[in-house]
């Protein structure tokens, strides 16, 4: 047990599974197959497992995803790490092939693969294509793939272990906002389910639902609100597909107030699906959404930092909501 970054924790899960499965592969691009963390051994997948199993070629994310899928189709457990800059380039491969081949073959095809799709860190200065946080909704609408998104190092490891062991194609969204986070993570392998939301706090006044990098702001705001005497139930979706409707509905049946928080664009953000599912099942509740406006992220820090949803926005909205 040691404090580990999300990246390191995730690589630990991968290393463990690659040691179990002699044929398991890892395709990367500009993100070296290496993770280091203060006080723990450096993980170097390329060195440990060799270039035939751990490979990078050119800038071709379509190949990374398609080759991973092809490897899975012939029985190899395969993972690829797609950098955020190319996060939509393999879209059609995942949407039309990974998501459909098992169903279309009436169950003949099996694809034990994981697509790690990076989502940018939404850092100011990089502008429209390198600070965007939008892949969550695109991928969550696809049938036939499980779409998960960790929010902390512990889940990053446990959900990766589950994703690798899952016989279905899994889109593992990895927001770069998590890179800064570290926490105590067990050294031994463990799993976290791919279909359960996590109740981070419980309360009767208000339900706040978020996911991925947004959870840091949700928990920060929840903290402030609890201190101000508001009983907040903070829920981390963790899995966008399948979505854990039961946990969401139960919570709002109690609180009758639902506030969703997304860094993704407002229109068709995950929060829209959360609200719709709850609204179909709970009567007389009230709803609010916080999300990134329907605009690309600007480069200017002044504009970007104003525009990007943060904990302060949650606190203010929650107070208005209750008042």
């Amino acid at each position: 047990m040691a404090s580990k970054s999300s990246m390191y924790a995730m690589y630990e899960a991968v290393q463990h599974e690659m040691r179990q499965r002699k044929d398991m592969t890892w395709i990367f691009e500009l993100t070296p197959a290496v993770a280091s963390n203060p006080g723990t051994p450096v993980i170097n997948l390329e060195k440990e497992f060799g270039r035939t199993r751990v490979t990078n070629t050119g800038i071709d994310e379509m190949w990374m995803a398609g080759a991973t899928l092809g490897a899975g189709l012939v029985g190899t457990t395969a993972v690829t790490y797609i950098p955020y800059q190319g996060s939509q380039i393999p879209f059609e491969i995942i949407q039309n092939h990974a998501g459909k081949l098992r169903y279309m073959s009436g169950g003949d095809s099996t694809m034990p693969v994981v697509f790690i799709i990076e989502i940018s860190g939404q850092s100011p200065g990089f502008g429209g294509q390198h600070s965007d946080y939008e892949a969550d909704s695109y991928y969550a609408h696809i049938p036939g793939v499980k779409v998960v998104i960790p929010s902390r190092p512990y889940d990053a490891k446990g959900m990766m272990a589950s994703a690798i062991r899952d016989p279905n194609p899994v889109v593992y969204l990895f927001p770069q906002g998590l890179r800064q986070l570290s926490e105590e993570v067990p050294d031994e392998q463990f799993t976290v389910p791919l279909d359960k939301a996590a109740m981070r706090t419980t309360g009767n006044d208000l339900t706040i639902v978020g996911s991925g990098a947004g959870m840091t702001m949700v928990l920060d705001a929840t903290d402030q609100l609890q201190k101000a005497g508001m009983k907040v139930e903070a829920i981390d979706l963790r899995s966008l597909k399948p979505m854990d409707t039961e946990t969401l509905v139960k919570s709002v049946q109690k609180t009758k107030r639902l506030l969703t928080f997304d860094q993704s664009y407002y229109t068709l953000c995950p929060g829209a699906e959360v609200i719709a599912r709850v609204a179909e099942n709970v009567d007389g509740a009230r709803y609010k959404r916080i999300a990134f406006p329907d605009a690309p992220p600007p480069a200017s820090p002044e504009m970007f930092n104003w525009m990007r949803p943060n904990a302060g926005h949650i606190v203010a909205a929650a107070k208005k909501f209750i008042a």
Binding site: G66, S105, D108
Partner: protein, 404 residues
């Protein structure tokens, strides 16, 4: 039409029954002219193999039977589409291209545990690939008519067939991506140190897709056991391949990746087999990928049997979809002169493997086999509607949402 003449340049008389080995060899020579570039590259690599001549008789007869199975299966589909509304197939017919799938698969391992057999990735024109790889015709017929007992339980229909048990990873309805998936299978084989080979069939239309560059480039960089079989039947949908590709032989594109690119006469199963065996040997020896362009032709329209007549081979009539069709009737008549069934039969007869009587007996047996497949299909049950919620994931079912 220069392209056509040079690619199908074999003399018409190669299809005459009374043919001797001598004139047949002339036929090869003539066809050789068509494959100049390909075979030059091949010779440069010292690959002069004429392997088919050494195959045991059973194998040669099996190849001939496979060609006939594909032919009569698809002719039956065409006739049913024109005459039998109880059979609901929506189909891209393979007739005319039988020697390609047959010659290619004859050079692969098609039996054994999944970890050992070679795999193929096919296209939206799947009958040939499926039957050549060993898919059961009964289940195939049932799948084409969406039966619960079909090869893929009625989920696939035509364009998404798959049969792991024979290494047929499957058809794919999208033009292109299968090549990338196949190169990934080859990547997995290399990673696990297996001798398996991954083959993708792609039409001439796949050349223009991103998948062509991606699969060839990465297979070349990583020296993968990957074989790209381009079935150049001259058209993608209704457009001649010259609208899609700036060169005469798609095979020449391989040289850009430092990969051998061979042109072969796709109507002659022995020539397809020869080149394919060289490619497979290269792949198993760790020498990397090969691209084989088979010059061939489809006898029916792009899709279905418009303009065809029951009991007659090929679509000569009007195709309502083909508003901008560039396919002249005489082009089809030329190609019918070099029919893969005739060429295969004549080869076996001239080689003394079978005689005319045996040839007819084989064909009669195949037609009976095909008939039985469709008779069986007719008895099979339809799908249970609720099963539509299964097979999305390995486990469980998804929720119905259509009722609100």
């Amino acid at each position: 039409m220069a392209i056509v003449q040079s690619s199908a340049g074999g003399p018409a008389h190669t299809s005459l029954p009374s043919q001797t080995r001598r004139t047949l060899l002339k036929g090869f020579a003539a066809a050789g002219a068509a494959v100049s570039i390909g075979s030059k590259i091949a010779r440069a690599q010292g690959e002069i193999g004429f392997w088919a001549q050494n195959l045991p008789n059973e194998k040669l007869i099996d190849m001939y039977s496979t060609i006939l199975r594909i032919r009569w299966f698809d002719r039956t589909l065409a006739d049913k589409q024109l005459s039998d509304r109880s059979f609901r197939n929506l189909i891209h017919l393979y007739c005319g291209q039988e020697a390609v799938a047959t010659g290619v698969c004859a050079a692969l391992n098609n039996k054994g545990p999944f970890e050992e057999i070679d795999v193929i990735f096919g296209t939206h024109r799947p009958t040939g690939h499926a039957i050549a790889k060993g898919v059961d015709m009964k289940k195939l017929a049932a799948e084409y008519n969406f039966k619960a007992t079909g090869l893929n339980r009625g989920y696939a229909g035509e364009m998404h067939l798959a049969d792991k048990s024979v290494g047929y990873i499957g058809a794919d309805g999208i033009v292109g991506p299968a090549a990338v998936l196949a190169s990934g299978a080859a990547f997995a084989f290399r990673a696990r140190g297996s001798k398996q080979v991954a083959v993708v069939f792609g039409g001439d239309g796949t050349y223009a897709t991103a998948a062509f560059h991606s699969s060839m480039n990465n297979a070349a960089l990583l020296k993968l056991p990957f074989i790209y079989v381009v079935e150049n039947n001259l058209y993608h949908q209704f457009a001649h391949y010259s609208y899609s590709c700036p060169m005469k032989d798609i095979a020449t594109a391989a040289s850009m990746y430092r990969v051998p690119g061979w042109v072969v006469d796709g109507q002659d199963v022995t020539q397809v087999y020869n080149k394919m065996k060289d490619a497979v040997d290269r792949a198993r020896a760790g020498e990397g990928p090969t691209l084989i362009e088979a010059k061939t032709y489809r006898y029916y329209a792009h899709w279905g049997a418009p303009g065809a007549e029951v009991g007659k081979l090929g679509s000569f009539g009007y195709d309502p979809q083909a508003i901008t069709s560039w396919r002249p009737e005489r082009e089809l008549r030329d190609w019918l002169q070099r029919d893969p069934v005739d060429i295969a039969r004549n080869t076996l007869i001239s080689w003394g493997v079978i005689d005319q009587a045996k040839a007819s007996a084989i064909e009669a047996a195949v037609r009976q086999e095909v008939k039985e497949a469709f008779d069986w299909e007719a008895q099979q049950p339809l799908c249970k509607p609720e099963d539509a919620l299964k097979n999305v994931f390995v486990e469980g079912t998804v929720a119905a949402r259509q009722f609100g």
